[in-house]
Symmetry: none
Subunit: 138 residues, 2 copies
Amino acid sequence: MKKTIFIFSTLIVALLILFRLSEYAFLVGDTSIELIIAIVAIVFLGIGLYINKKRAETIPRKDGEIDAKKIKELGISDREYEVLLEISNGLSNKEIGEKLFVSESTIKTHVSNLLVKLDAKRRTQAIQRAKELQIIAG
Amino acid sequence: MKKTIFIFSTLIVALLILFRLSEYAFLVGDTSIELIIAIVAIVFLGIGLYINKKRAETIPRKDGEIDAKKIKELGISDREYEVLLEISNGLSNKEIGEKLFVSESTIKTHVSNLLVKLDAKRRTQAIQRAKELQIIAG
DNA sequence: GTTGTTTTAGTACTTTAGTATGAAGACCAA
DNA sequence: TTGGTCTTCATACTAAAGTACTAAAACAAC
């Protein structure tokens, strides 16, 4: 959101500078000032709509509300949690290793630890448990 | 969305009329035109953000809603679907076999068929795909 | 009553997954 | 500096999972 504010501020300032430099000459010309204002309004309205749309799409959906406290309570480390996410994405140990730039052995270790901490026998059960515990998105 | 467009058009027209009526007199006054344009930009940007936020909040989101049609389209049989549900519950092939009173071999056959039909390499990926396709609950 | 699908089950095999254990470097706090 | 977690990796297993067939009984449909 900070980035968004920065972008807009920059845009607005740039617009102002543009107007100042041109002394409205070529932009205004025969065009009435109302039209310019209208165009500015429409353009910025469009930007506002676009930005929030982007943001809405990237928000995973808050019906889940991942419980960060519970992750700590279970003693799941940062790295283990990363592995958990990839498991729920359907990746194999080998693929997770490649994605996180570590060996498959390392992933196996993390997975074994996760299974103990989540009280699961298999990775599929771990996914199920993690959802019940609200530590991954549904 | 049509309503949104109508509201904006109305707003813009109203703004134009306001400017025309006042002959910029009281609004412009000592204020520079750049400032007015900047204010218009910010205001409409805010409106754009607000509207899309409202819209995002009011979208019901089709959460559950299992798509029975898609199951048929994929050629997934009744029995295969039962197996799929148990997979997503985290059961092993052996456990599924015991629950459905058939052999583990049979479950393996069903799982293999499911993986092909769901275009998945592993059962964890099958779970993921099935959710994307909305054929099992999230 | 033959056709086609579904469900069942098997064998034989390869590939992942998971367990157990040990160990080493990084880092942080007492 | 020592102790404790975290992260990394390895070896050597065992246990599941998944593939590739084949095949037979059940059952509806035509």
